[in-house]
Amino acid sequence: MAESLLITGPPGSGKSRAALDHFHSKSGSLLVTPTATMAEHIRHQLARALSPVRPSRIITLAAFLNRTGAPAAASKPALHLAIEEALDRLRPARFQAVAEYSGFRNALASLMEEVERDALAPDLARLYDEVEQGLARRGAALRNVRLRAAAQLARQLPGELPAQIVFDGFFSFSNAELNLIESLAARTGIVVTLPEGPGGNASDWPGAAAARSRLLRAGFREFRCASVFRTPELEAFCAPTLEQETEEIARRILEEAARGRPFHEMGIVLRTRDPYAPALKTTLARFGIPARLYFAESLSAHPAIAFLAGAVRALLDGWDHGELLRLVRMPVSGVGATPDGDRFDFDLRQLLPGRGLPLRGLVSREASENSAKSSTDALLGSLLDSFAAMNAWMRDRLEPAEWAARIRTLRALIPQPAIAGNISSQTLNAWTSSARALDALDEVLEETAALFGGTKAGLGGTQAGIGPAPVSLKSAGRITLTDFWRHFEAALELKEMRIPDHRREVVHVFDVFEARQWELPVVFVCGMNERHFPQYHREDPLLNDAARRRAGLKTSAELQREERSLFHLATTRATAKTMVSYARFDEKGDATLPSFFLAALPSSFPDDMPVSKRAALCEIRVRPRPARNVPGLIKGLINVMSVRSSRPIRDPELLERLATGHRTLSPSAIERFLQCPFQFFADRSLRLRPRPAAPRDRLDMLVQGSIIHAAIAALEEMPLLGAAVFDHEFAAEIAKLRIPAGYRAEAVRLEMLRNFTTFLADRSVSHGFKLGWSARVEEKFRIALTPELSVRGRIDRLEVGPNGEALVIDYKYSAAKTIRDRVKDQDKGEVVQAGLYLLAAVKEFGLTPAGMLYCGLKKEVEWGGWHVPLAGFEKIGECCTRDRLDELTEAAAATAVTVFESIASGEIGVRPADESKCAWCDYRDICRIDTQ
């Protein structure tokens, strides 16, 4: 019998090298690793070392099991389906409350892949059996079952085994794995490596110790790589935040690179993917550092898949227009980030909420029928047509495989890339990733169809042609899209993908498990904070520590102990330099606890410093140098510091434009200017168009005001209808603006109605009018103040007396206080409406001014303003002389002229007269004033 060898040693002691020596020593050896990337890494490493290695000789344990002829591994969807079926059938009482949670099913799935049946409580064991049978029906099996089968086959079958099998990179082995190794050892040479803790003590690496003693008992000879032959230089640093920590890493990488170190000689080791991987991805990209992250992405999050899956979801949901918009707006749709798409976005937004396809009455499409269609508009049209065509699917019942085929055709919705010059490498990358995602989507479709229908492919087996042919379930028969989709979506959620990236000159970013067989000159270990590295482990809710101990699985305490070993592992990946780092504050801005492992570092720091202070604090802030020569860089300083100094317009041509553009002003425009010239400029000169409001935000104050005005005007024509006119106007406006008729709109209606009714009941003014007075409503006017300037407006109500007296009434849907303030502010020169309306009464309508009254309609009716003595008006407003009215008029006219002159002289500065009003200003986000 060939010799069986166990190589042990702490991380960095050369176990892998010893294992490789053995691997090379015998031709026909097989090297088995825990992960595929690890296998690939070793293959390439060997190839680069010019050693003639056959790639098929270095494989994962899973692939090895496939070769032994053990049943195929259960794919994730298959396992989840089996679990779902088992839960459905057995309905174990203990799990009733949690059975629906995907988190529970995930936990169950990983438990079943991890544990052996006998270790389980009776209800779990029954589930296990059921799952096992479900999988067996599909020609697949759980991991331990496969291991057992492989062990069996290894022992019995006459087939040829490799001359030697080397297991390297494993932290420990489960009982089932050990069984397999022992069976193999009976027939061929076996070499196994196992790690030891930092102290060279096997028990410091939980799990490894048990495996070691068992292998020793089985007759393995132990070879110990006792000494750690690498002592990289060690450096620790900390940064205020996680972001700055990643920036500091980037800075150091660039420094190393500048010294001539290739990027591929550097790596960043993370304890877990989150939260560092996404942050590093962004930071490294910003600094132009090529990096490869060894993490899979979720397939369903890929834009191409989100788009296609979204289309089916939208179909099932009856094409909710909000959903539709979301789909069309994705750049991957081909029209998302185009002018036509932008227009469509705004058009449809205005029509929300809505549902159903085809879309009728959408402005841009109809408008484009006659005009020459742009290519994206055509694309948009065909996209919408394709969506609409999907409606027919809802009537169909198809075999799962047919559904899969049909959904596959959806890829046509993604426009074919236009291969032409000037395509950026980013675009190329986007295409590559889309193509890859679509392939992966196909796989999921195949798998789903296979799980539910009669097709043969895609069950568990990863290597076609090896292992028994999978037996599929009886076809689920013809099903609806909804049914198919439910299963498909579940499978999709489980699918991960890797965007291909094979560049050599990259910084490697991986987690500590992936890092185990890597050796790089420079390694960063980041996130050295308590709870991150080390992670804190707690008991498993499905299998508590006692049970785990019985099952030979790691307990929470052992996992906790393993953290230290992982730390040791991470910090021994470097041959030249290890840099550990942490962030001092968390995302809430609270101080963090640096990892206690830092204290274990043999460091050059003085011992009397507390751990957290021993790491050098990085104060330098780094930024990528802007690619362009940016004016903002200089202007930025000015603008950020002094917002209020937006400079007036001086160009004569533009001044001319301002003057002509604003030769007619309305009182409200003038008041707007008086409140803030910039507000006026943005609103009236630039005429900035905002984004259409969401349905629920449409019933705003402006709309409420116009409803009330319309109702009051209508009342004049149909006085007998009373409050009913309000309801009529309200309903019309709601319908026009497509405001959802929920309780909130109802609450607004009731409130407005209450106010309106109060207004109806208010007799304070109408009682004042004697016979001979008549009312004119909604009177438009336009009067010239100077040859250059006219004022125009619309008077809500003009009461005309028998002698041509004019009492101007202006309704405002605002509270009493606002009315009082308006009257009060009159003399501050911020209000011109009253004066200008009175002037209009004279100039446009040839009347004698008798007064101007504001009428506030919110909560209570509030009258305010000025009038000459009029019987019945004693309690209303301020009784004054004609002179006072003339004064108002003159002041307003003068103000209007000054305003016009300011406009014409280019005055557009951000200068709010009343900062508290900024809260309601549409431009507060861009004027750069500080609002709270």
Binding site: V98, T282, Q426, A435, A464, R621, L637, Y743, R744, I926
Partner: protein, 1078 residues
């Protein structure tokens, strides 16, 4: 510092539950830590058997860090101790619950991977549940809901400051949950006042003696009351309204009628109104209760859907779990020998109940005078009860009175201002230090308004005056922002009641050039720089949003002047925006949103102009969207929506990190709790609390109360429960007000400066401090900022900071090619670089080209994209499958295949080779390998491939590649095949130990054999060309990466899947070839 005897006593007290009353600065945290240490060292308790509960995460972190330091010495000897300290249960109560629930998720009925919702997330989820609940109820019962909406006076706008119905109900819902209730109890039955009213009315009528002007009115009122039926009608309310018409003075004093009228008017009518309004609106009240249950159901459902749990839920579920599972409760309780609890005064009833379930012995520290979290349902009474129960049981209560923080003058001021005030327990503060060198240690600054009697005007200016006095005073401490006389800017804090009050101070500090940081702000999403970035985001989403686009253009991102903006006009804006950021838009979705935005900012050098604070905000913002994206990737438009919603609802967004260096801290008193500073300003004392009270409210004592509309007058009318709740709230607020000031003042170590803006009537805090400290320094004008160097430096703040930024250039990257490649890829590239590119972009392209190709499993694919051997793609699906089949037969695998059947043609083609001379030689070979996979490191790339056959026979080493297609006379393809074979031959040298002598392409269909010359030079050139193309194309700055993959039009285009489709090479080959037909 040595422990005091009182501290030692508390630390070592045993044999009883311990209650430590720890005044401000009395070393509370230290006592807690020492207790922990004492338990470990003296009582030999394993650290993992101690549960320490703190009020905040921050405090937990601090305690843990201090514990580690406390035990540092022992760790050398005792590594096990270290580990158990590291993992000790030191956490907030929520942290504890989360841990317990996770470990027992199944029993608790929770998903094992449940997420804990943070406050804003929980709020928005609850908000949505409330909106949906109300909408559902409205659509089911519009009439009833209309009635409800009309019976309450609430805002109709959810963005308004005044709560709307949904918000009001959510507030009630929260109080109900904190009270530990699953549903709202029916309002408490109250004494019926109606009989008493009738009695009084009868008494009035019966009393004939009363004289007075209003007696007839009174009698009419009384008789009308008596005429009312028992069922409450509108008339009832109408009947009550005349109560204001009669004056008691006009009713004969001393008569029975007068007494009855007095009671009626002053008491009974009010109660009656409260009683009737409740009866009248009973239906609406039921609806409110129903709405709450509906909200509860929907909210629970939403949480369940997301497998999420909120903070209150953590407590609820833990209690439920422990109460329902005795065994677990016992196990949990026996897990801890002692529970240490910090800030017991801020515990709520639910939390106390929880502690009760697991506690065996308790060591609790607290100080009622520092209880300031009533608005979050903290119940200081919990602490009082605990303390009192201990005393009643004859146990000792430890009282730490000595204050090690503040100078005696400061403590004196605290006592003078607050002793004897409501909510403050009389406890002397004893200063243990007297080493201050400030005189006076306590000051009072008052800003007086400059002009006008107008209230608003006065307020505005007085606040600015006050703020300028504060800024000027800070300037005196640190004249040039540098440490001076032992004072650094970071030693100074300005505390205010609410963040709304910070504005004048920010303005003044800016003017005075004092660097500062406002912490704990909800100002985050409102900050100017964030609005810039939000505008950028909005414009990227849709540049038709002109407000956003112009915002970007005139912001420092682009830095365009308004004049330019005006000149450009809308088409110009869009064009300019596209010029700057257009290329980013299509990348949305493909790169993470934070990277998208960060690239835009970097490109503009935006960070250069930002202050430290602003930069931290931007960083925070990017981190926020990164987390959101990771949690739930969604299109940009949705991200924008959710950010805007967050901003609109004013959900407390996180503050910028406190990495402020040497700056003055501006914060709320609540945020300052637990902190201390040498110099503390307690400012804007005039700002009172929000006086408005909720229209709907709940308390355990009163039940559900509401302020309804009086059906007769339409005015607001509280029911009795509401009245009672409002009283409770007022009571609590008054007490908490005083405690808040107490906490604020006791933050100061050496110097306490109080300040306020003078208002017409001094009330509240100004009044308290006026009596305690005097005389104030009064300012009546806005102080001018000194023109110092520090000021100038600060004015150029951006520039200074820009100096501290290191601009890094992107690295020069020499090589961007892949580490490994398939030999077929090299050959494919050689045949036509463009075709290689199109296929390497992915087989997805093939689908776009509407070609559905089967996977080719022949070549071991290590995650590469060359899944399909595109050299043979002219054959379509069937062709490739057929090719593989032939290869399998030749590899001797006929049997082991999942191929359903073996076609005759395949067998026949295979036999052509086996029957050939070459085939015969192979059969005789001494060494032979079929389907030989290999890796070959060549010119800095690892090539991988699979050789169909090689053998050594007659001293000759021969490499063979079979071809099943028909292209033997196609020049380009043959060339490519030849190249492939040459590389195979080269690679073999390493494996076979000798160079190949001969390389043969065997075309099976025509049964034709072509000998390929072995030419390492050609192979090398081809590989290098391939790598060079990748190097050039991978450069992100390369304007035209496609150029690296030129087309090679020719005969082969006929059979190319991309021809006339993805390949624009059509034009180039037009006229020479037609689209192949198949």
């Amino acid at each position: 510092m040595q422990l005091t005897q009182a501290q030692i006593d508390a630390i070592t007290r045993s044999g009883q539950d311990v209650c430590v009353i720890a005044g401000p600065g009395s070393g509370k945290t230290r006592v807690l830590i020492e207790r922990f240490a004492w338990l470990v060292e003296e009582r030999n308790i394993d650290p993992s058997r101690i549960l320490a509960i703190t009020f905040t995460e921050k405090a937990a972190t601090e305690i843990k860090e201090r514990l580690i330091r406390r035990f540092a010495e022992r760790f050398e000897r005792d590594p096990v101790l270290r580990e158990s300290i590291e993992r000790a249960w030191v956490s907030t109560i929520h942290g504890f619950c989360a841990r317990l629930l996770r470990e027992n998720a199944i029993a608790a009925g929770l998903s094992p991977d449940f997420t804990v919702l943070d406050q804003p997330a929980a709020e928005s989820m609850a908000r949505e549940a409330a909106e949906n609940a109300l909408d559902q109820m409205f659509s089911e019962r519009p009439g009833d809901m209309r009635g409800l909406l009309e019976s309450l006076d609430l805002s109709t706008d959810d963005y308004a400051r005044k709560p709307d119905l949904a918000k009001s109900l959510l507030d009630v819902y929260e109080s109900m949950r904190v009270a530990g209730l699953r549903e709202l109890p029916v309002a408490r039955v109250v004494d019926d006042i109606w009989p008493r009213a009738r009695e009084l009315a009868s008494a009035i009528l019966a009393d004939g003696t009363a004289r007075g002007k209003d007696v007839p009115l009174l009698r009419e009122f009384a008789s009308r009351l008596l005429a009312l039926g028992d069922e409450v009608t509108l008339e009832h309310f109408e009947a009550l309204s005349p109560v204001k018409w009669f004056h008691l003075g006009r009713i004969g004093n001393g008569t029975r009628a007068h007494a009855a009228a007095k009671e009626l008017k002053e008491e009974v009518v009010r109660l009656l109104q409260q009683q009737w309004v409740a009866i009248w609106h009973a239906g609406s009240a039921r609806l409110l209760r129903e709405a709450i249950s509906r909200i509860d159901a929907l909210y629970r459902e939403a949480k369940r859907r997301e497998a999420a749990i909120d903070f209150a839920g953590l407590e609820e579920e833990t209690i439920r779990l422990l109460e329902s599972d005795t065994d677990l409760r016992q196990r949990t309780a026996s897990r801890f020998d002692q529970i240490l609890m910090d800030e017991l005064q801020d515990t709520n009833a639910l939390q106390w109940r929880l502690v009760g379930l697991i506690r065996r012995t308790l060591f609790a520290v607290g100080d009622i005078n520092q209880s300031i979290y009533g608005f979050r349902h903290a119940e200081p009474a919990v602490f009082a009860k605990y303390r009192d129960s201990l005393m009643e049981a004859g146990a000792r209560v430890d009282d730490l009175r000595e204050n090690h923080r503040s100078l005696p003058e400061i403590l004196g001021a605290v006592s003078r201002a607050l002793d004897g005030q409501k909510g403050i327990e009389p406890r002397p503060l004893i200063a243990s230090r007297s080493d201050g060198n400030f005189a006076p240690a306590v000051e009072l600054l008052v800003g007086r308004g400059e002009e006008g009697n107008e209230i608003d005007q006065e307020k505005l200016d007085a606040e600015d005056v006050e703020a300028s006095m504060v800024a000027a005073r800070i300037r005196e401490f640190c004249p040039d922002n540098r440490d001076s006389g032992g004072v650094a800017l970071k030693d100074i804090a300005i505390l205010v009641r609410a963040l709304g009050a910070t504005k004048p101070f920010e303005r003044a500090l800016d003017r005075f050039g004092v660097p500062f940081l406002v912490s704990g702000g909800r100002t985050f999403l409102e900050a100017r720089e964030i609005r810039d970035v939000m505008a950028l985001l909005a414009a990227l989403v849709n540049p038709l949003d002109e407000i956003a686009v112009v915002g970007v253009l005139r912001s420092p991102l682009v830095g365009m002047s308004d004049e330019e903006t005006f000149r450009m006009g809308r088409d110009g804006w869009r064009a300019e925006f596209e010029r700057w950021f257009g290329k980013l838009r299509p990348m949305a979705g493909f790169v993470a949103p934070d990277l998208l935005l960060a690239s835009a900012l970097d490109e503009c050098g935006y960070a250069a102009g930002l202050t430290d604070r602003a930069r931290a905000n931007v960083e925070k913002f990017l981190a926020h969207i990164r987390r959101e994206h990771r949690r739930q990737p969604s299109p940009l438009a949705e991200l924008l929506d959710s950010l805007e919603a967050l901003r609109a609802t004013q959900s407390e967004a996180e503050a910028a990190p406190p990495e402020a260096g040497n700056v003055v801290r501006v914060m709320t008193i609540h945020a300052a709790k637990g902190l201390e500073f040498p110099i503390v300003f307690v400012s804007a004392l005039h700002r009172g609390i929000d006086q408005s009270k909720p229209a709907i409210a709940f308390s355990t004592r009163a039940g559900l109360g509401a302020k309804w509309r009086n059906p007769f007058t339409g005015a607001g009318q509280a029911d009795r429960a509401h009245k009672k709740i409002v009283e409770e709230i007022k009571e609590r607020e008054a007490a908490e007000e005083n405690r808040l000031l107490y906490v604020a003042m006791t933050r100061a170590e050496d110097h306490l400066i109080l300040s306020y803006a003078e208002k017409k009537r001094a009330s509240g805090w100004p009044k308290l401090v006026n009596t305690a400290i005097g005389p104030p320094r009064i300012g009546d004008r806005v102080m001018p900022a000194p023109n110092t160097a520090a000021h100038a430096a600060h004015a150029a703040h951006g520039a200074i900071l820009a100096g501290s930024v290191q601009w890094l250039d992107p690295p020069a990257i020499a090589s961007r090619h892949d580490a490994a490649a398939a030999v077929t890829s090299i050959a494919l590239f050689h045949a036509c670089p463009r075709k290689y590119l199109l296929s390497s972009i992915g087989s997805g392209m093939q689908h776009w080209a509407d070609r559905d190709l089967e996977k080719n499993a022949r070549e071991d694919d290590c995650g590469g994209f060359e899944k399909r051997d595109n050299l043979t793609d002219d054959q379509g699906d069937a062709g490739i499958a057929f090719g593989s089949e032939v290869h399998r037969i030749l590899a001797g695998e006929e049997g082991a295949t999942d191929q359903v059947h073996t076609t005759e043609l395949a067998v026949e083609l295979a036999s052509r080779f086996t029957g050939s001379e070459l085939g015969q030689r192979a059969a005789r070979a001494t060494r032979v390998e079929r389907e030989f996979d290999f890796l070959f490191y060549f010119e800095d790339v690892v090539l991988r491939g699979q050789i169909d056959l090689w053998f050594e026979e007659g001293g000759e080493l021969i490499v063979v590649d079979y071809k099943t297609d028909r292209v033997s006379d196609d020049r380009e393809s043959s060339e490519a095949y030849a190249l492939q074979l040459q590389i195979y031959a080269l690679s073999l040298e390493r494996y076979a130990g000798r160079a190949a002598d001969r390389a043969v392409l065997y075309y099976l269909r025509p049964d034709k054999m072509i000998d390929v010359p072995i030419d390492p030079g050609a192979a090398r050139a081809a590989v290098l060309a391939f790598l060079n193309a990748q190097d050039a194309a991978g450069d992100p700055l390369n304007p035209d990466p496609m150029n690296s993959y030129p087309m090679k039009p020719g005969e082969q285009c006929r059979r190319c899947a991309f021809f006339g489709n993805l390949c624009v090479g059509t034009a180039a080959v037009e006229g020479t070839v037609d689209r192949a037909t198949g």
